[in-house]
């Protein structure tokens, strides 16, 4: 990432662009359940936050986690488990998120000392461990069958059997998650995090501890991924082994890349595009894997800036 000169005009324009993106995305998300069916809209919110969480680590710390399904999936299972044991919706979602955070502690400790491709391999292996656990621990996860038909008790007069109500409740949760990500990136911590990413030696020589920054960034990212996972589980009403599969870890990478890394808005838009594409393909009975695989390859080869990144680049040049 290039460092822009901090002239007043430039900062002003950046601020305006950012506000425009924020308002645009806000309006889009508010009317989304009117445009597509609410459960799909809810999936976009959950995957969107998941991709934002992933981007906090990949885009802003330069760490390609290939095992983020572990946090998304563990939270999804925990949320479903708590709901089926009579807990209220906020308790279940918070509980799920906490499970993801707890799981992230040892994984982060062991993985952030490694860089580059080693980091990817290690996170992938931990996610795989969890995936085997999910398969085997049938009392809690339902094994091959997964968990379904769990209760979603009303909360503060909100009737969660209605999918539109669920959507707007999740939109509020999403807003909180997105705000946390946004504040993290704009904070001194976020700035230091990017300094570590761009030049680890230099960051270290001015007194930052790279490992500690990566560790904290990992925890924030995993926790938000957990929040997203709990939203998915609550919204969908079904949790299966798919949530801890390595394909899921890859899918969130694709969404982030397609939308644009380090843009925060990008991952949400990327998630929307991937899910809509998948919905169209499934409805038309076309091979999903072939098309998404092809899109993935093309994005990596020719479109690494992603949708939002390309638009921003184009605006900056103008």
């Amino acid at each position: 990432m290039t460092v822009l000169p901090r002239t007043a005009a430039r900062t002003d324009r950046e601020r305006t662009t950012r506000a425009a993106w924020l308002i645009g995305l806000g309006i889009l998300l508010l009317v989304l359940p009117k445009l597509i069916y609410p459960v799909l809209a809810l999936d976009i919110l959950a995957w969107g936050l998941f991709a934002v969480a992933f981007d906090l680590l990949f885009g802003f710390s330069g760490l390609l986690s290939f095992g983020h399904a572990a946090f998304w999936g563990s939270s999804a299972y925990a949320t479903a488990y708590l709901l089926s044991n009579g807990q209220s919706v906020p308790v279940a979602m918070l509980g799920g998120t906490l499970v993801a955070l707890t799981l992230a502690l040892p994984v982060a400790y062991l993985s952030v000392r490694s860089a580059g491709i080693y980091f990817s391999m290690i996170t992938l292996a931990f996610a795989q461990m969890l995936s085997f656990l999910a398969l085997q621990w049938t009392d809690v996860t339902g094994g091959e069958n997964g968990l379904q038909g769990f209760a979603r008790p009303s909360f503060l007069g909100l009737d969660f059997s209605n999918s539109t109500t669920r959507y707007y409740f999740c939109l509020a949760v999403f807003a909180v998650g997105f705000y946390i990500a946004y504040r993290t990136v704009r904070s001194p911590f976020g700035q230091a995090q990017q300094a570590v990413r761009d030049n680890e030696q230099r960051a270290q020589s001015i007194g930052y501890n790279p490992v500690r920054f990566k560790f904290t960034a990992f925890l924030i990212s995993a926790t938000l991924a957990g929040l997203a996972g709990s939203m998915y589980s609550f919204g969908h009403g079904v949790v299966s082994l798919e949530v801890v599969n390595w394909r899921t870890s890859g899918e969130v990478v694709m969404m982030t890349l397609l939308g644009g890394t380090t843009t925060l808005f990008g991952p949400v838009i990327g998630a929307g595009l991937v899910l809509l594409l998948r919905d169209v393909l499934t409805t038309a009975n076309l091979p999903v894997g072939i098309v998404t695989g092809l899109v993935f390859v093309l994005v990596v080869l020719f479109f690494r800036r992603g949708v939002v990144g390309t638009v921003q680049h184009w605006l900056r040049k103008k």
């Binding site: 292996a125 931990f126 890859g250 694709m254 072939i290 695989g293 993935f296």
Partner: protein, 296 residues
Amino acid sequence: MTLQYFLIQVFNGLVNGAFYALLSLGLAVIFGMLRIVNFAHGALYMLGAFTAFALGQLFGLGFWPSLIIAPLLVGLIGMIIERGLLSRLYGLEPSYNLLLTFGLTLLTQDLVKQVMLSRFAVSSAPYTPPAELSGVVNLGFTMFPKYRLFVIVLALLVCLITWFVIEKTRVGAIIRASTENPTVTRAFGIDVSKWVTGVFAVGVGLAGLAGVLAAPIYSVEPYMGAELIITTFAVVVIGGMGSILGSVVTGFAVGVLAAIGSALYPPIANTLVFILMAVVLLIRPSGLFGLPEGAR
């Protein structure tokens, strides 16, 4: 556990280990030389098995010709992937190679699934070993399937040859020079990019070979490489990424340990390798046979 039962587990473990070793050897050759993490390795392994199956169905080719032809075809596909796609990403972060090959994996798996369903009307197909290799051998402590013993021996042989070529011959020296210092190597009149393509093709060909060998044991299906490749990645991390010796030794060792472990406590079978990886990482972050990251 009696000694006899223990030995049977060891031999069963060596069969699985043979596949881990062949796959992680290919990954090590490719990573050590090219710094590419080839996620598509599992899909190319599957493609080896599928090619053997398709050659049999379409041209009536048996196991022996397929054992030669299928790895060559997979190697050729590897060449096309390296020249056409991966070479465009050199100079960027290595993560992009991982992502590109991940996309290729999704693509290949579903492509083969479609072909199997539409052309052969099956979603998975058994593949029989050749007549010479069917039946059992008396190992003294048990009757062991002849074909499985063949897999162990052949895999060991291939690993040994690959190690010898890379460590002891002039060809190996050129390959190592091309990857360690391409500019100087080029100055000696060596076409580095051709060697890179060749190395990638050979690494991928090893995966293809493993696929043909696996077809009679695990039967042919589009996702047969999906779980295996993840375990192989763990093997690679344990052995030390890019270490030829490490990948072979760890491959066989993990196979045997997992077999013994699952005999003692069955639920642990698939997880043992990842637990092992976590332990190794705590003690030696660069893997058992790997050099520390800075020393490279």
